[in-house]
Symmetry: C2
Subunit: 334 residues, 2 copies
């Protein structure tokens, strides 16, 4: 049905059904001027927002509306994860192109709802407006963390070890597959890489555990590992050395890279949108984190060390040490 | 300077200077994965967002970037006001068209900052992305209200009186002047109406006082008085009668209406974006509110009564009583 036939009021009624996962803490959800929420004592609020725009952050050629909805919430969940927090409540704003069918929005909300349920988030309202241009989705997310336990980008100290919570480069490999239909790989390889691009999995549980274990700094890898290391080193007034030989790249990503004639380490360093966490940890907490990870069956990867140099460096496979450029996706470099 | 020369990092550095009005309650502002905030005990959080899109909610032909920044925050402030709350912290997302100069964004942020300072709001972060289409601004705003004291749309009871906090229709008159440059009025008339359109003043202080006095329901008039009465009556399961003869319209709005050959009551009922508050109040609290208003030198206007009929009715100037259609601006009716 066309939105112009349905009308704004009915659209909102349709979309806002069944959006509150856990009514605890929600005095008032969607349907009034604002949502009304409560928090507990001894809790800090985390507060983040991300805007994603059709043609910039996603393409409807590669993604379903449901996947776009998932991703819109996932990138925000990843920010809460990177603080060591627990996500709680969300608002969703949609800028809707003229002529879009209401089914598309129902599907988009199905994706939002799927991510919200998996990560126990209440969607408590938002805004729907028309957009003469592209589909624009802005998600804002609140989270909570025990007072004093938020993990910032700025805490890394020389000698700390640098870890990531999973392999890198799969979303970039997935995008490469979407953009180059002549590259043909096995269904297993294609599914793995494509879904890493369309339905990235934020590391909320890992972030909670890492915060409890006392990591010194943490960030999510939304803009590529290289870019995040610049953030962490800049914020902490430190440097680092990242070792190419230790960068974890899944074998399926290597298959795509080989077909495409691309160095998979480029994807691991600059690919972006991995939604893995990168964290630094002093020797005191390192063993505890390894034990926790082993206990959960999770693999974490040591990819380098923090240095006092103030410079972000890369040790190449041949032993050469070179400056590691930022190289993450800069939205205005076009 | 072109944004592509400045780069995202430098842009954010430029924009996020001096955004925290009151550091109390802000553990971490812009610059990490999320903002980190504290709240007090016995406080409810208010949580709202509004997206405004160039060509839909504002035109750069009529408004400066500074005015657009003001308005983006003002419409959110108005939602907090309508709950009886105190605004606290905000995040700003910008979808920036290719080729926009950084000066424009600095000006936009000057307007955001101006509204933030006037209403004591901290801007604690956000997101900047590129937009292949129009300029898109999404503002999210947190506020606080004493536990149990939020004013909903749903509390109106038959016999309650309906009030508005100021005159209506000036923003619509301003828009009419912008769109019809052949209409020439005195500078005083033009300035009043145009600035009501470009720099609307949310009624935060009035909302606080009204919540304290115990109004039964409240809403801001962002979509026209008629539309808001449908919201209030729908939410409360009541009806109302609004009297045309009591609708407050400023003499300057009447001047523009006469030149334009338009009934100014149309603007008062359906104009939208007034950012005045409409509230309902039982006889017990009415006298207290009148005294409070008089003490502050504020004028409030009784425009009708709540009825048990379930219908939103209008008493015309000739005494005829007719159904009052919703008629507010529906974003998808085009």
């Amino acid at each position: 049905m066309k939105l112009s036939e349905l009308g704004e009021f009915n659209l909102i009624k349709l979309l806002t059904k069944d959006l509150v996962y856990d009514p605890q803490g929600v005095i008032k959800g969607a349907g009034d001027d604002t949502a009304v929420l409560t928090t507990s004592e001894g809790i800090w609020l985390l507060f983040t927002t991300d805007m994603i725009v059709e043609g910039v952050h996603f393409s409807l050629d590669y993604s379903t509306f449901q996947q776009v909805g998932w991703k819109a919430l996932a990138v925000n969940l990843s920010d809460i994860a990177a603080m060591g927090g627990r996500p709680t409540h969300s608002l969703v704003s949609l800028g809707i192109p003229y002529g879009l069918e209401s089914d598309a929005l129902v599907e988009l909300y199905a994706g939002l709802r799927e991510a919200a349920r998996k990560y126990r988030v209440n969607i408590v309202g938002g805004d729907t407006v028309s957009s003469p241009g592209q589909l624009v989705i802005n998600v804002v997310l609140l989270g909570e963390v025990e007072a004093g336990r938020a993990v910032y980008r700025s805490g890394a100290r020389p000698g700390d070890r640098v870890y990531v919570t999973g392999t890198l480069g799969a979303p970039a490999a997935g995008l490469c597959l979407f953009q180059n239909s002549e590259l043909s790989c096995s269904p297993e390889v294609e599914d793995y890489c494509r879904s890493a691009h369309t339905m990235p999995q934020p590391r909320v549980e890992a972030g909670r555990i890492l915060a409890t274990c006392g990591v010194s700094s943490m960030d999510d890898i939304s803009d590529g590992l290289a870019g995040e290391m610049h953030e962490i080193c800049g914020a902490g007034g430190v440097g680092c050395i990242i070792r190419e030989q230790d960068l974890p790249v899944d074998r399926r990503v290597r298959v795509v890279a080989e077909k495409a004639g691309i160095d998979p380490l480029q994807w691991a360093l600059f690919g972006g949108e991995d939604l893995e966490l990168v964290f630094t940890v002093g020797s005191d907490a390192e063993e505890k984190i390894k034990r926790e990870a082993a206990g959960k069956g999770a693999i974490i990867y040591n990819v380098g060390e923090i240095t006092a140099s103030g410079k972000v460096m890369l040790e190449r496979l041949n032993g050469e040490v070179v400056p590691l450029m930022c190289g993450g996706y800069d939205h205005f470099l076009r």
